[in-house]
């Protein structure tokens, strides 16, 4: 390199190679190739090392991004992995599925026309390659405290909480109703974004750190919550949000109308060869599919349907392209893979007699911003149209799904069903039951993986304070 300080100008931003569309739509494999060491170092070297690292501030877990970019530039893989794990329990997951374009890479100084540093791909590279080369978290200084904590839910919040507890000598046992760890990381996010052996590897590492997993156990059904309180010093709840938002229009219960999450879960179960893929097998081969919604879940459904061999996939969203809430990268990939988008369309009815035959849409225009600053779509009278469909997937988002037993254990909720937690600096995420902590989607409403990781870690800090250790 002629001039190191101008590497960001001389070397353009280069994303890792992406599989060509024809090759990727016939499998559920991840579509991005990994970096090699030279490529990672060269891309990492584009970082300016800003005095105020905007990427680090924007990142919900405040990863030490410029610092590990520097380490990768210098070829110090293990040090980078160690540093990356200081702030993030699942960096290889976040590197794959964070919407970096809205977080670190969106905040990158170079994102003003110079091309942001490829932070996500490098984050993934660090942990993947370090684990491959034999790196494991350094647990040599951990003092065993003898305290035990139950973690309900092996999703990102639960895993992150268990990670911090284990690193502080508290023995966590993680319960999950599914037979694999990861929660939605395993069963919700399609494998073409996150291959499932990544989570298997993470399980192996966490077990190596002393985390116990008790899988296939649903608290409240297979095991009473009381049993946890009796056996453990504290409990962390990271149970997610599973209640699907409904459209509230006619025809939602017709055969051929699916909720997004059961659809995705069934597909993944089949891919993994697990039982319970759904009675009808739920594959959309040869069907005309309409996906309703414009978020990340809708994109996942779009791309899953494409890979299942749907004849056509049409995605409708009630605002315009610019106002889409999800990752731009997922949207671009969906388009590339052949999804057709209908913007400014709101479904008002699913039509059909025995079975879905189509979706009645009305054209919208954006009105004045609402309380959250988002412009409200308003229907244009007389603009109804019917898009023919054999299957409809509704991906309107998720609402809290509090367990029935919360009330019995003095775990109080907000009006909208989210769990109430303390905001105290020393003991964050404590629920109204002092021995119970909670974090992730069930506390904040459905959100990103990385925010769940952050809350799980913060809750672990609260638990450590409550237990008087660490």
């Amino acid at each position: 390199m002629a001039d190191k300080t101008l590497q960001f100008l001389d070397v353009p931003r280069t994303d890792p190679a992406k599989a060509p569309v024809e090759a990727r739509v016939v499998t559920f494999r991840e579509i991005y190739a990994p970096f090699d060491a030279g490529g990672a170092a060269q891309q990492a070297g584009r970082c300016l090392g800003c005095g105020n690292p905007f990427c680090e501030w924007k990142c919900p877990v405040h990863n030490y991004i410029p610092n590990w970019l520097k380490l990768i530039e210098e070829g110090n893989l293990f040090e980078a992995a160690e540093l990356s794990h200081k702030t993030n329990s699942l960096p290889e997951v976040c590197g794959r599925i964070c919407p970096q374009d809205r977080l670190c890479e969106g905040a990158c100084t170079l994102n003003d026309g110079l091309g942001a540093v490829t932070i996500g791909a490098i984050e993934k590279y660090i942990t993947d390659e370090a684990l491959k080369a034999g790196w494991r978290p350094d647990m040599s200084n951990v003092q065993v405290t003898g305290r035990r904590v139950a973690v309900v839910g092996a999703g990102p919040a639960g895993l992150a909480c268990a990670d911090i507890l284990a690193r502080n000598g508290v023995a966590p046992t993680v319960f999950d109703r599914y037979e694999r760890i990861g929660g939605l990381l395993t069963f919700g996010i399609p494998p073409f974004k996150l291959e499932k052996d990544v989570l298997e590897k993470r399980r192996e590492i966490m077990e190596g750190m002393g985390v116990r997993f008790r899988l296939g156990v649903e608290i409240g059904a297979d095991l009473a919550f009381d049993a946890l309180l009796a056996e453990y010093d504290a409990v962390f709840l990271g149970m997610g949000t599973y209640a699907a938002v409904r459209g509230g229009f006619a025809g939602e219960d017709l055969p051929g109308v699916h909720e997004a999450l059961p659809y995705l879960i069934a597909n993944i179960r089949r891919e993994l060869g697990l039982p319970g893929a759904g009675a009808e097998g739920l594959t959309l081969r040869g069907k005309r599919v309409v996906v309703l919604g414009g978020g990340d879940t809708a994109m996942d459904c779009n791309r899953t349907a494409i890979r299942q061999g749907a004849e056509s996939v049409t995605c409708t969203y009630r605002r315009d392209e610019r106002n889409m809430p999800g990752s731009r990268r997922d949207y671009r990939n969906s388009r590339e893979e052949g999804v057709e988008f209908l913007f400014n369309r709101q479904p008002i009815e699913i039509v059909g007699s025995e079975q879905v035959e189509g979706v009645k849409l009305v054209t919208t225009q954006l009105g004045a911003p609402d309380a959250r600053g988002r412009r409200v779509p308003q229907a244009v009278p007389g603009s109804e149209q019917i898009v023919p469909a054999d299957a409809v997937i509704i991906a309107f988002g998720f609402l809290p799904s509090p367990a029935r037993w919360f009330g019995e254990h003095a775990i109080r909720l907000h009006d909208n069903g989210r769990v109430r937690v303390s905001a105290a600096a020393a003991r964050p995420f404590q629920t109204t039951n002092p021995r119970v902590f909670a974090g992730g989607d069930m506390v904040r409403g459905s959100d990103l993986v990385v925010t769940a990781v952050f809350e799980g870690r913060e809750a672990a800090r609260g638990i450590l304070d409550y237990l008087g250790v660490g």
Binding site: T5, F8, L9, G51, D112
Partner: protein, 530 residues
């Protein structure tokens, strides 16, 4: 561009931050302020002080040294090129320094003579009002308007790769990625001003002047943490025991020095027609050692009309006799040739830009010139051009930070040629220790009769070599020229002896140059710079 402004060449290292070897004491500072006011009598001179305990005393000294403005600079904010450790761990808040300065100046009846400015991370109108209440009448902003222009505080200003196109010479970055417009800064300051007005109105004041120094309008908060509750803020808010009528801000147009520089004014009166007509001419004066900064007034008048080197083709020759006061020939401009028969104090030729200074022993003196001091310390400090011939020995720190002047003298004290970045110095005699520390450009000839120069120069950045008559013909010739001119200008018997027997003396000369420079390029570079 930067190299030109700094009188350096691209590739020559510059030591940063540059030490101020011309200001070791408050008297040095007073002299510097006088020099500046001589070269430009209309200018207001500002002195920036770091907010730290005792800054009030320093500020009182600075006010007595006839500065017109004093800036008390706090530790917030900071330049993007400085190391994080300096930004985080150096200095104290401007509030402390400003309060102390304002109180001390009022106590010593000096406040009305100087304008008091404060800076260091000022951002809002509230900051301005607080600073005014603590005694400031002027407010410095650096970082905030930069941010308004698109600065993202990357802290890489020194690397020439600023991605916002601000702190860089890189054409692509400047033309494609700099988004700043003057209106953005105007807009920012309009908002600051509007906020100041709102707060003033809420205080019932019509103008900022009404609230300067009104610390009773500030109320101490109890503090949140136990440590904060222990803070005693009363000393900051104390209104000195002086009568309330003592001025709270500057009421004089400028802080005029006691020394009116009467001889310098007479010289200007007598020579002004020659300067205005660009005619040149010859004049003669007697000097006493209280005649300070002689030549600066003339250089200022020349530079104002004709630029730094404007009268080089029609020089003014001024023949002086006697003992020159401090700063003889300071800021000397092109076309001003000062001859002095006698001797001079400190700072001869400080900041010289062009022209010629000649110092020689009185006619009939029988002492050996190369064993006799003819000028004081810190001569030719920071000179950027011109020439100096001195038939005698200079004090310490000769030609420190010289970047373009050519000088011949017959001996020098310690630290000669420190931080030099250009020009040439020829010492026909003994030098002190630490010769050439931080020397990154230009070159020197040193006559080493005692064969101990090797022990006297600073080995870090320079090397020395002998002059081989065959291989280094250009150096021999250059040295011969310098000797010849020195003899012609000063009638030095010592230089004449060397010139007449150069075969004997030549092997005793060293050529001193930066390690990074090639010996063959030295004279060519000097010629190109001239």
């Amino acid at each position: 561009m930067i190299a030109t402004l700094r009188f350096a060449r691209p590739g020559v290292g510059l030591i940063s931050p540059p030490p101020h070897h011309d200001i070791y004491s408050i008297e040095d500072l007073a002299q510097l302020i006088f020099d500046l006011k001589q070269v430009n009598p209309q200018a207001l001179v500002s002195v920036k002080l770091v907010a730290e305990p005792g800054v009030g005393t320093v500020a009182a000294g600075v006010a007595k040294a006839y500065a017109d403005l004093i800036t008390v600079s706090g530790y917030d904010g900071g330049t993007g090129a400085s190391p994080l450790s300096s930004i985080k761990y150096a200095g104290t808040p401007w509030e402390l320094g400003l309060a102390e300065t304002h109180q001390t100046l009022r106590l010593n009846d000096l406040r009305h003579r100087v304008r008091l400015q404060t800076d260091g991370g000022l951002k809002t109108g509230l900051d301005v009002v607080k600073a005014a209440l603590l005694g400031a009448e002027s407010f410095g902003f650096g970082t905030a308007p930069m941010v308004a222009l698109g600065c993202k505080y990357l802290r890489i200003c020194h690397l020439n790769n600023c991605a916002t196109g601000i702190a860089t010479q890189h054409n692509v970055l400047r033309s494609k990625y700099f988004v700043g417009l003057p209106q953005m800064v105007m807009n920012y300051f309009n908002f600051v001003a509007a906020e100041v007005r709102e707060i003033l109105a809420s205080l019932g004041a019509r103008s900022l002047a009404e609230i300067i120094g009104r610390t009773e309008l500030l109320e101490a908060l109890p503090g949140v943490t136990p440590r904060q509750r222990k803070l005693d803020l009363r000393p900051i808010l104390a209104n000195s025991a002086l009568a309330p009528g003592a001025p709270q801000f500057c009421v004089t147009p400028a802080n005029a020095p006691f020394d009116k520089g009467e001889l310098a004014e007479r010289m200007v009166r007598e020579m002004l027609p020659a300067i205005e007509g660009k005619r040149g001419g010859e004049f003669a004066y007697e000097l006493k050692n209280y005649n300070r900064s002689i030549g600066a007034r003339l250089s200022g008048e020349i530079a104002r009309r004709w630029g730094n080197a404007g009268m080089a083709d029609a020089p003014l020759t001024v023949r002086c006799r006697g003992n020159a006061g401090q700063s003889f020939g300071v800021w000397n401009a092109g076309g001003l040739h000062l001859y002095l028969e006698g001797d001079a104090n400190d700072y001869v030729g400080k900041g010289m830009a062009g022209g010629r200074l000649v110092l020689r022993h009185p006619r009939g003196a029988r002492y050996a010139t190369h064993e006799t001091v003819i000028m004081g310390n810190t001569c030719l400090y920071g000179a950027t051009g011109g020439e100096l011939f001195a038939a005698g020995v200079a004090g310490e720190r000769f030609a420190v930070r010289n970047s373009g002047a050519v000088a011949v003298l017959e001996g020098a004290g310690d630290h000669c040629c420190e931080y030099m970045t250009g020009g040439a110095v020829c010492v026909l005699g003994r030098t002190g220790v630490n010769f050439g520390a931080g020397f990154t450009g230009g070159f020197a000839y040193v006559l080493d009769l005692e064969r101990n120069f090797v022990d006297r120069y600073n080995h870090e950045l320079i090397d020395i070599s002998r002059i081989h008559p065959e291989a280094m013909q250009s150096h021999v010739q250059h040295l011969e020229d310098l000797l010849e001119r020195h003899v012609a200008e000063t009638a030095s018997r010592w230089a004449e002896e060397i010139a007449n027997d150069l075969r004997t003396f030549l092997p005793k000369f060293w050529v001193v140059k930066p390690k990074a420079a090639s010996i063959d390029s030295l004279i060519e570079n000097l010629r190109r710079a001239a």
